[in-house]
């Protein structure tokens, strides 16, 4: 057994199944139900991969939050990237951006039409292309949450120090706490607890979640990404719900400190400043994003080419915001399965294969082996 297998022990998981069933029964006996949100895309992926939902008692629902950076990317951002590709710039992007719809088209279609668009797994690809093609401008699509920001800034730092004039970023960094705050502001919110991502929390610190628990009564548990971490996190949330408590419970204190990671925070602060940005399906949220500071305008594709990222026109009938707040099931959206399906996603919840709408579309009749 190696280190990772220790977090994937089926016997331990079976014990969580029993515990969660007992707690679920206790909640049901109180006449209660619980709806928890896993905030982050990495949790969503692990929950899907290890079939965590299969361990949940009937009284507990786990919904996917706005933490998949690709899904919440505004259509207007995709439009801008397509425009830059059309001007002959080389676009470098994480591969999962390729099929995300803009207002009119996708990067995949733009590439088919002759745009030079490279998909990558690491921002370093952009550096290599910039060196190999000094005559072209390389635009890196800088999207992501707190955790992605640092590696992208490290890449930018290298580009700056080696005086590469032909590399720019199209920035749409997003922050977790403001979007949670925006969700939580809805008095009809049906979320009882947040399963908070360990890696984001390692950067920003567990303290960032305290207002949610203290002012809004939403329990917060910071959990790691291994399946047993997640089951333990759900157990913690369920115990808080049953006890009628809402606190920030940091189950990941081997990495997450209350105040976060000061080095990463300083790097971010040097290059970036907070700004109001637009989220697909949720609209513009104040101070929910990070943009390059004016002194780094030469690296900012938006400023260098005088683009203004128009908030894209999201489909007015898309109810992703309501889905994310736990207020409706995806099937209650009129577009669900009709105009909006996995091969033609309209809202963020359908873009990622693990988004709430995509999951419901595919697993419509449930797994009952």
């Amino acid at each position: 057994m190696n280190y990772i297998d220790g977090f994937r022990d089926p016997d331990a998981a079976a014990r969580y199944r029993v515990t969660l069933a007992q707690l679920g029964q206790e909640l049901a006996d109180q006449g209660g139900r619980a709806c928890f949100m896993e905030v982050c895309g990495s949790h969503t992926m692990a929950i899907a991969r290890f079939a965590i939902r299969d361990f949940l008692p009937p009284a507990v629902t786990l919904v996917s939050g706005p933490g998949c950076p690709v899904c919440v990317t505004d259509p207007g951002y995709i439009d801008a990237a397509i425009e830059l590709a059309g001007q002959g710039k080389i676009i470098v992007t994480f591969g999962d951006m390729m099929r995300v719809p803009g207002s009119r088209s996708t990067l995949a279609k733009s590439r088919a039409a002759g745009g030079w668009i490279e998909s990558c797994y690491s921002p370093v690809t952009a550096l290599e292309l910039a060196r190999a093609h000094p005559e072209r401008e390389i635009v890196f699509l800088a999207i992501g949450f707190e955790t992605t920001v640092a590696p992208v800034l490290a890449m930018l730092d290298t580009a700056r120090r080696s005086a590469l004039p032909n590399l720019t970023l199209l920035v749409a960094f997003k922050l977790v706490p403001p979007v949670l705050a925006a969700l939580i502001a809805d008095p009809e919110l049906k979320i009882d607890g947040f399963l908070c991502p360990a890696h984001v929390s390692a950067v920003i610190g567990a303290n960032a979640y305290r207002p949610f628990a203290e002012n809004h009564g939403v329990a917060c548990v910071v959990a790691g990404f291994e399946p047993l971490d997640i089951l333990y996190g759900v157990e913690g949330l369920l115990r808080q719900k049953i006890a009628g408590r809402a606190t920030v419970d940091n189950q990941y204190n081997r990495v997450v400190r209350p105040e976060g990671n000061p080095v990463a925070q300083r790097l971010m602060d040097h290059y970036l400043m907070p700004a109001a940005v637009s989220w697909r399906g949720l609209g513009v949220i104040p101070a929910s994003g990070l943009v390059l500071r004016p002194e780094f305008a030469q690296f900012d594709a938006e400023q260098r080419h005088q683009l203004t990222l128009q908030p894209g026109r999201p489909n007015p009938h898309c109810l992703c915001g309501e889905v994310l707040k736990g207020k409706i099931r995806p099937a209650q959206c009129a577009l669900f399965g009709v105009a909006c399906h996995p091969d033609h996603p309209l809202g963020p919840c359908m873009v990622s294969s693990e988004g709430s709408c995509a999951a419901e579309y595919r697993f419509a009749s449930g797994v009952t082996p």
Partner: protein, 336 residues
Amino acid sequence: MNHDHILLAHGGGGRLSHQLITQEILTRFGSGPLASLPDAAALELDSSRIRFTTDGFVVQPLEFPGGNIGDLAVHGTVNDLAVSGARPRWLSLGLILEEGLPLTLLRRVLDSVQRAAADCGVIVATGDTKVVRRGQCDGLYITSSGIGEALPGFDLRLDRILPGDRILVSGPLGDHGAAILAAREGFENFHTPVSDSRPVHRLVEGVASLAWGIRFMRDPTRGGLATVLNEMTTGQDFGMLIRARELPFSPGTAALAEMMGLDLLHVASEGCLVMVCAAEVAEAILEFWRTLPEGEKARAIGVVTADQAGRVILESAIGGLRVVDVPSGELLPRIC
């Protein structure tokens, strides 16, 4: 040949073309039907039941840990024939070369084609070479068609699959896709993934005596195991249950997948066989496979079920159940 790189004239039909063909092609493939460079190869078959397949290869990079585009083309074509229950016999080799391609690289690729063909017992019977301008192709593309003779006894049809049948795989999953990804991203560490590019025809021919119990075979290339199993179950009146704990993965591939967040069920293999067979023959097949290097890590990974019709269900490493979906969109372009 005293040029170091491919020139447009190498495809022009003149002296350089002739030189390329005689020095690089005939020296390697000229002992059979190709010897006198006929316009069409003359082939004799004992059987009238033949299998015919074609494929194009555009992998990037051209050389990767575990192989190159040359052996990949041979194995890809051979494996398509083998999983159809055929003994591969003849291949065609179409080369599209980019002006400027280093000749040393072309030679390494052709050497690999020669070695792989000999290993698979197939003959390169016909071919073609074209050269395109710089920038019009990415170094080298290969097209290959293959002819095989149907092996007696195989009747491979989805409608023969029954609940209770076993699902077998002949080796670790996802090694090829992971190797390509690692090569492209420049990951080189102590256990870089190595492509499994290799033939599966011996795995098929060696179990021909049990063919009556073999229902269906595929090789999980693009889209990986998830895609192959979904293709088998979609619209059928049976389902499949596979167990994550039984799935064989190589350590380097598994490590890369952890790091990059890849679902290896969606990642391609190029030397792996997925078979659905009657429970009675499963053990004997696994036992034989494990005597061959290409089947050393063979495993029974799951069963065909009467419920969950049309779906593939995975029992996760921690014992939860979920649906296995096909990947949507492009996962890894140009892996083969």
